[in-house]
Amino acid sequence: MAILVFVESAEGKIKKTSIEAVAYAHALGGPVTAIALGAVEKAELEALGKYGAQKVLHVADERLSQGIIQAYATVLEKALQDESADLLVLANSSLGTPVAARVATKIGASLASNVVELPKTDGGFVVKRSIYTGKAFAWVELKNQKKVIALRKNAADIKEVGSPAQVTPYSVTLGDADFATKITSSEKATGEVLLPEANIVVSGGRGMKGPEHWGILEELAKTLHAATGCSKPVSDMGWRPHHEHVGQTGVKVAPQLYIAVGISGAIQHLAGVNSSKYIVVINKDPEAPFFKAADYGIVGDAFEIIPKLTEAIKAAK
């Protein structure tokens, strides 16, 4: 089955979750065509070949350097047709999922988002989705010939399986309707590790007492090359930006390691972190519910433990 993978980029670089999407498509058997839109570095595009893309299409249209949902859906619909691909794979992201919804509707495809692993293909095509905000899974059969799946982080392992691919310029005629929404400006955290992509997350709660105390968490995060996160009250009070808020009503993370400092572990917070591989909890209250969801725990005062932890990590390097 020919597969098209939509790869997202930020500041010219392909996102890790999109490389996972290429790896996922490769593991399914391919042949795999990757497509990127807007300004992306050439070497980044070529490198997709190493992860399993036989072919890389690039739409260099400057207008597509911004993630305009309708325009992207139009491009992908055409590319699926030109490549005779029956399956579109992309990352479950703030852009990927809305685009997946529109493309699937355009082409009459079976759609599944929040997919967490490779499908079962003995007798049908059955995917595993995360539901109830990480508290359960559903196995869902995608019955139509055409399929669109949006992958959650860590749904596939990235492996080098090939050599750099040739990049083919590609273009699609877009109309006014495709640009009905206009992006007037954006604010992006630059140079930081992005929370949804991070392998390690250092997260702080109300136990940190105030925004002026975040320095020790940032220092720890920097040492670990980690992203910083927080609990909902912390972003509600404006101690940290909204996009760092983890949980049921915030970002759902799936890092290798989640370090929770001064967070009680309310069920709504846990809903955003229960896909983490390992969880470390640091809390001065031995009864904090978070310890029940943790792999490692320290009962103690964050203001004493965190600087020591940063030192110990530096020493172990």
Binding site: L111, V126, F291
Partner: protein, 246 residues
């Protein structure tokens, strides 16, 4: 102006999730149902717009069986003018979206507000499908929505930041905080909700491309290893040599 708000009827965020019938049915025993938290933000913003713009009406819509009616009544108590229930199990996103689109084709709305995602299916796709079926723009997740006549200014969350957008009515938005503050119904709202119209319509047939096979619960978490506060380097040792994540 006419606003449609699509709300889900979902287990309270503190619910324990269990399944029955050989892992094919959600176990409602002891579960309290609420308006989806993101849908609640959408509804709160709709009520604010109704209060600000004269002649605005807000309709709440749910695709679900009769036991979702208390959730629709709560929407009415919060301030919606009328409610519609499409009498069907919300089996999958495409089915649900097709029902919503059918209603919106019959009665055009200037603005369709939803949550960024439901907290049972977590699909985040119903708004996109509805918008595509109606041929109008969809924007999600929306953190801010202001109207100026038929033009709207929005802020959308993206990974690690925000994007500001402009679009003309009509469109579909998937909402999240801090678009508005959740509203709690007051006594007057609860009383008046009882007599506000709630229309039940039968679903239209839709050929869905997906079929649920079974549910699964994650494996139980092993017990936590506690490290004494005076031995922080031991934590680093375990992360490095046992968990192998450093």
């Amino acid at each position: 102006m006419k606003i449609l708000v699509c709300i889900t009827h979902v287990p309270d965020t503190t619910s324990k999730i269990n399944f029955t019938d050989n892992n094919t049915k959600f176990d409602t025993t002891g579960v309290q149902f609420i308006i989806g938290p993101y849908d609640d933000y959408a509804l709160a913003r709709a009520i604010e717009l109704k209060d600000a713009i004269a002649g605005t009406t807000v309709t709440v819509l749910n695709v679900g069986p009769a036991d979702t009616e208390p959730t629709l009544r709560k929407g009415l108590a919060i301030g919606a003018d009328d409610a519609i229930r499409v009498n069907a199990e919300p089996t999958d996103s495409f089915f649900v979206a097709s029902q919503i689109a059918a209603i919106a084709k019959e009665t055009p709305y200037d603005l369709i507000l939803m949550g960024r995602e439901s907290i049972d299916y977590n699909s985040g796709v119903v708004h996109g499908i509805v918008a595509e079926l109606l041929g109008i723009p969809s924007i999600s997740p929306v953190m801010k929505l202001d109207l100026d006549g038929t033009k709207a200014k929005l802020a959308r969350e993206i990974e690690g930041g925000k994007e500001y957008l402009e679009v003309s009515l009509p469109f579909v938005a998937g909402c999240q905080e801090p678009i508005a503050e959740w509203k709690i119904p007051n006594m007057r709202g609860i009383m008046s909700a009882r007599t506000k119209p709630l229309k039940v319509v039968e679903p239209k047939a839709v050929d869905s491309g997906v079929k649920l096979q079974k549910f699964e619960l994650p494996p139980p978490k092993g017990s936590v290893k506690m490290i004494p506060a005076d031995n922080v380097p031991e934590l680093v040792n375990l992360l490095k040599n046992e968990a192998k994540v450093l």
